[in-house]
């Protein structure tokens, strides 16, 4: 047989496409042509694969080899195609039987010794293979935990699979030789056992961990999230955090240095409910793409927390890269919290780039190699000092800033971005009195329980709608389907008539009022809730839109 095809996966952002790898061995002088829009690391696959085949005790054809990756128009990146290319060429030589790899998707980078090396993006790849209806996915042994984690989710959350949710087998192997064994009819247990033994042998020879691509950063999941009980005082800020967590409202904290803004923001992920399996899969897929998914254990269920430094570029925030497009901080904060400390110090372009994802919940990154969209539905927390010197709060006696500098400082934030912040809050420094009081503060667990109850109420109310939290409900729907009490509406109308609140602002106040009602266990928001929501909007805080 001179023609053979195997299946591989091309990742475009978080989405994967099944790619057919066709190999043709023709008469002619030895040559190896790889076509189908490969990038540099994929073009180098030719030399890796040839050496891997020769060093696995099999022979490379001494004739003209052509490998095509179809669809040929889809740009393909990375080294994950090595295994499928090798298998296709071996298929042409009848080393792999024609039916040996039917319905099997292969993913993995080969070393020159024929061993499979860990790859980035195994999790979304396995998920995509399952969606495409593959019955078996082969992944590198070093990525087995990641692949097993997605396997777990696929078993519990079955709808929508290409093969009707009927199992997608995930097989981890450690070398090309094991793939041949698997294709020639060795049982799964035999191959896994052999792979394990092989891996143990490798570790005995070289105890250093294998370098995985893209794992420059260590995993950000700490042993335990910081607890709200550590925060002394700040009752208003605690309350705002609780509302933000319950209703998904974006939060702006303004306060002098040392007031505890960073400390408060870091405790917000701990108040959010744990991720459900689908969300956890999304979050882990993004981490896998960035190469920071922990290699052991199950899918992390805690919402992510990202705190990019204020020198971050637009590409670092929204994602980028010239060939392999990687997710940025806002996508890494998907289903979690994005905290921008010293927000006015961020570049204007970087801050403006947040507007689109804040509305749509995803971000599309356009590069020469293609356009990729990443999910980015995050809870935004901004922190700022009241002025450049930081002491322009209260009567501002310590403040040394000129008025025009103060204005310039906040002008970076004002406008559309500020308007999207439902909760705007002054965080005052903790006084000696509240330090000395030494009362045991509420822990995260207690607040999380209240948040969970409030979210339960709102999700029950929104059960026939696509929105998950109050902050996502469009204004017209909000006013139409869930009107507030008439006295509360009067209060808002009064504000609008006096010009201190825009109509859009009124909608935002209503959303927060609904969250307050959910937290209080009320059927609908009354005057108190609307008044509180108005106060939390803190329009006097900034010169931004009311």
């Amino acid at each position: 047989m001179t023609l053979f095809a195997t299946q591989a996966l091309a990742l475009q952002g978080i989405r994967g496409h099944v790619v057919q790898v066709q190999a043709d061995v023709a008469n002619g002088l030895p040559a190896f042509t790889l076509v189908g829009l490969p990038d540099a690391s994929l073009s180098e696959s030719r030399d890796r694969v040839r050496a891997a085949v020769n060093n696995s005790g099999m022979s490379w054809p001494s004739s003209r080899v052509t490998v095509n990756l179809t669809p040929a128009s889809l740009p393909k990146q990375g080294s994950g195609f090595d295994l499928s290319i090798a298998a296709a060429v071996l298929g042409c030589q009848a080393v792999v039987p024609p039916d040996g790899l039917r319905g099997t998707v292969l993913f993995g980078e080969l070393g020159l010794d024929g061993r499979l090396r860990p790859s980035r993006g195994v999790l979304p790849a396995v998920y995509a293979a399952w969606q495409a209806g593959a019955s078996r996915v082969v992944v590198p042994w070093a990525n087995r935990a990641e692949a097993a984690a997605v396997g777990q989710v696929l078993r519990t959350d079955a709808p929508g699979g290409g093969n009707g949710g009927g199992g997608c087998e995930v097989v981890a192997i450690s070398s090309l030789a094991h793939l041949v064994q698997l294709a020639t009819g060795a049982s799964l247990a035999q191959v896994e056992q052999a792979s394990q033994a092989d891996d143990a042998l490798r570790q005995a020879q070289n105890p250093l961990p294998e370098p995985a691509s893209g794992s420059g950063r260590s995993s950000q999941t700490s042993a335990s999230a910081p607890d709200l009980a550590d925060v002394v005082g700040q009752p208003q800020a605690r309350w705002a955090l609780e509302i933000a967590a319950a209703g998904g409202h974006h939060l702006l904290m303004v306060g002098p240095p040392g007031a505890g803004k960073t400390m408060l923001a870091a405790r917000l992920p701990g108040l959010l409910p744990p991720l459900d399996p689908t969300q956890a899969l999304e979050v882990a897929s993004l981490a896998s793409l960035a190469g920071i998914l922990p290699s052991e254990g199950e899918l992390p269920l805690t919402p992510p927390y990202q705190q990019p430094h204020h020198t971050a570029t637009t590409a670092a925030l929204v994602g980028g890269g010239s060939t392999v497009i990687k997710p940025g901080a806002i996508s890494m904060a998907h289903r979690g919290v994005l905290f921008l400390d010293e927000a006015p110090e961020f570049r204007t372009a970087a801050l403006q780039a947040l507007r689109e994802p804040l509305e749509s919940g995803e971000v599309s990154v356009a590069r020469a190699t293609g356009t990729v969209s990443f999910p980015a539905r995050f809870l935004l927390v901004l922190a700022a000092n009241p002025c450049p010197c930081g002491y322009g709060y209260g009567r501002g006696e310590r403040c040394t800033c000129a008025p025009h500098r103060k204005r310039a400082y906040f002008s970076k934030l004002s406008g559309p971005l500020i308007d999207r912040m439902d909760l705007r809050l002054l965080v005052h420094p903790v006084t000696q009195v509240s330090l000395r009081r030494a009362v045991a503060e509420e822990s995260s667990a207690v607040v999380r329980e209240r948040v969970a109850q409030a979210r339960q109420r709102s999700s029950f109310r929104l059960r026939e709608h696509p929105w998950a939290v109050n902050a996502e409900i469009p204004g017209s729907q909000l006013r139409h389907c869930w009107p507030a009490s008439s006295s509360a509406v009067h209060l808002l109308e009064d504000q609008v008539r006096r010009g201190s609140l825009t109509l859009r602002g009124a909608d935002r106040v209503l959303r927060v009022a609904w969250t307050l009602a959910d937290l209080a266990g009320l059927a609908r928001p009354g005057t108190d809730e609307v008044a509180s929501a108005l106060a939390l909007r803190g329009s006097e805080l900034l010169t931004g839109a009311g």
Partner: protein, 136 residues
Amino acid sequence: MRATEAVGRYGESVAAAYLQAQGYAVVARNWRCDHGEVDLVAHDGSTTVICEVKTRRSRTHGTPQEAVTAVKVERLRRLAWCWMEYARTHGLTPRDLNPNLPPPNPMTPVLRLDVVAVWLPGRGPAHAEHVKAVGS
């Protein structure tokens, strides 16, 4: 150097015998011109075959076919045209040597570049691999 030369000579005789067994008429061996040397020239029906012979005694230096690089194919192509001119002027074209050939057919090429790879294992018979039309 002399040993490798001898191996090359022997390989060429193996290749010539192989081509004759395939029904080719070997017209010239080690034909030289200003551009270099052609190992074998043979006639496959009405097609002139310019043949490069590569001989190997072991696999330590890769397959013989691999030794024929694009540069060597290009040199072979130049040599081929020299031979064609020489054959035309010296009455060595396939039709000159065999007047009974069928009339020209546009589907049969006039000229072809082949590589014959000869393996000379330490023991056992020599064995030839024939790669046709390498220039296309």
